[in-house]
């Protein structure tokens, strides 16, 4: 079996270049590639386009890359709770392409699956539809959306094997599987890396064919944005 293992995050990001298109798995701060983001912060990169459902917070996740002015453009569905983001956007330093969340997920899925365009009802009658082709199918209006692909996709999984097969945990799965397929070079960081053959083939969420590099990450913070508890059962 092909071995995709590399040593660490530094090696993982070695060839990331300025003005590249990058994808980052995660929803909020859950399931984000913490190790790779840290490694990217160590590099002198500018003009990046980042595809990510959210933009992190001021002091964690992609928020840190924004702070370092590495990002030219964000393609996201929700970018609230980030003061630095707001400042850069209002000052014109940062460009943002807001995309409905389901459309974003599907555009990325389409990029990985070789579907250059598809029709969705999301955004009909709104500013999202401006400049896009509108068409009626079976009596309902839809707009055409294009695929999204990336030069590098950064993926965070729970377990992975040396062949690049990945298993996610809980809702930390989110955008990771589609992005894994949509990256020209897909880099997976995992909490536990095992030899090929130890994961049940029936339980793989992302087949290794999509993953070019894999390494075991460390020091995961897994910050919680809205720590919400109940007193009762749970």
């Amino acid at each position: 079996m092909i071995n995709k293992t590399i040593a660490n995050a530094k090696e993982a990001v070695k060839d990331v270049f300025s003005n590249a298109v990058l994808m980052f798995g995660g929803f909020g701060l859950s399931g984000i590639p913490e190790n790779c983001i840290k490694a990217l912060l160590e590099k002198d990169l500018t003009g990046l386009t980042c595809v990510s459902n959210n933009a992190g917070v001021d002091d964690f996740g992609i928020g840190l890359m924004l702070k370092k002015r590495m990002v030219k453009k964000m393609i996201s569905s929700y970018v609230g709770e980030n003061a630095e983001f707001e400042r850069q956007l209002l000052s014109g330093e940062l460009e943002v392409e807001l995309t409905p969340q389901g459309t974003l997920a599907e555009r990325i899925r389409a990029g990985g699956a070789g579907i250059p365009a598809f029709f969705t009802p999301a955004g009909i009658g709104t500013e999202v539809a401006e400049g896009k082709e509108i068409r009626e199918f079976d009596g309902k209006l839809y707009l055409m959306e294009r695929w999204l692909k990336a030069d590098f996709a950064f993926i965070k999984a729970w377990k992975g094997d040396t062949a690049g097969n990945l298993i996610y945990k809980g809702t930390a799965r989110n955008f990771n599987p589609m992005m894994a397929a949509a990256g020209k070079i897909t880099i997976a960081e995992v909490e536990e890396l095992v030899p090929a053959g130890q994961l049940d083939p029936n339980q793989i969420h992302t087949p290794g064919i999509y993953v070019q590099r894999i390494f075991q990450g460390k020091d995961y913070e897994k910050r919680i944005e809205q720590r919400t508890v109940s007193e009762g059962r749970g």
């Binding site: 929803f27 909020g28 701060l29 859950s30 399931g31 459902n53 996201s76 569905s77 929700y78 970018v79 609230g80 709770e81 707001e86 956007l89 209002l90 943002v96 807001l98 409905p100 969340q101 389901g102 459309t103 974003l104 997920a105 599907e106 990325i108 899925r109 969705t120 009802p121 999301a122 955004g123 009909i124 009658g125 709104t126 500013e127 999202v128 729970w158 945990k169 809980g170 809702t171 930390a172 799965r173 989110n174 955008f175 990771n176 599987p177 589609m178 969420h205 897994k222 910050r223 919680i224 944005e225 809205q226 720590r227 919400t228 508890v229 109940s230 007193e231 009762g232 059962r233 749970g234």
Partner: protein
């Protein structure tokens, strides 16, 4: 006038046995507290979970298990986890029976505006545009008027639209209203102590009043 919890409580009466439901952030999240125990329903979280349980105890908090509002949650027996593409496939494909979400404005033909205020920082639409474009039944939880007394139930929305001709029902602090297929807010129920006249005066869009309008009971 209903408070937030009462709005949630009233919306919970719309829930039917066997439904899969997506609850938006804010008042809609509170609806879960009022769904009768004898109804079997499943709550969907669009970030990839069917079967949202109660908030966790301190010991059971798991950063890998959050809802669409980024709150820590738990799962019920029979839950399933999946990707965002699968999740919005479910939503777009009409598999979710009921969507409950908040709104800044609703028009008399069912247009909804809830994602953007010109001049204010744009946070993004998240999954709202997918939800309103896809759900077969959409109930909106909202305040009938703005803080300065302007009606939010309008002939036409003034804010940027989230979706068109999609809202089926509104539960505001003043009333329960149905959007008629031909357009217009049909008044179904009044909040306790609120008169039809008050609702009329606070509804800019076409209000349809037929017969006696019952008062809600809590």
């Amino acid at each position: 006038m209903l408070n937030k919890n009462q709005i949630a409580q009233r919306i919970a009466r719309e829930v039917k046995n066997g439904q899969y439901i997506n609850l938006g952030i804010g008042i809609p999240t509170l609806v879960a507290n009022y769904i009768p125990d004898d109804l079997e329903v499943v709550l969907q979280s669009e970030n990839g979970l069917l079967g949202i349980g109660p908030f966790p105890t301190e010991e059971k908090i798991d950063p890998d298990l959050i809802n669409a509002g980024k709150q820590t949650i738990t799962m019920v027996n029979g839950s399933a986890l999946f990707s965002s593409a699968e999740s919005f496939g479910m939503i777009r494909g009409g598999h979710v029976h009921l969507t409950i979400l908040g709104a800044m404005e609703v028009s008399e033909n069912g247009d909804i505006a809830n994602w953007k205020i010109p001049g204010k920082m744009v946070k993004g639409m998240g999954g709202a545009m997918d939800l309103v474009a896809s759900a077969e039944n959409i109930i909106v939880a909202m305040q009938h008027c703005s803080k300065d007394g302007q009606s939010k139930l309008l002939k036409e929305c003034t804010l940027p639209i989230t979706g068109i001709r999609c809202v089926k029902k509104i539960v505001s602090d003043l009333a329960v209203l149905e959007i008629l297929p031909e357009g217009g807010f049909k008044l179904l129920e009044r909040a306790p102590g609120v008169s039809v006249e008050e609702i009329k005066s606070k509804t800019e869009g076409k209000l349809v009043v037929e017969g006696e309008i019952p008062e809600m009971v809590f």
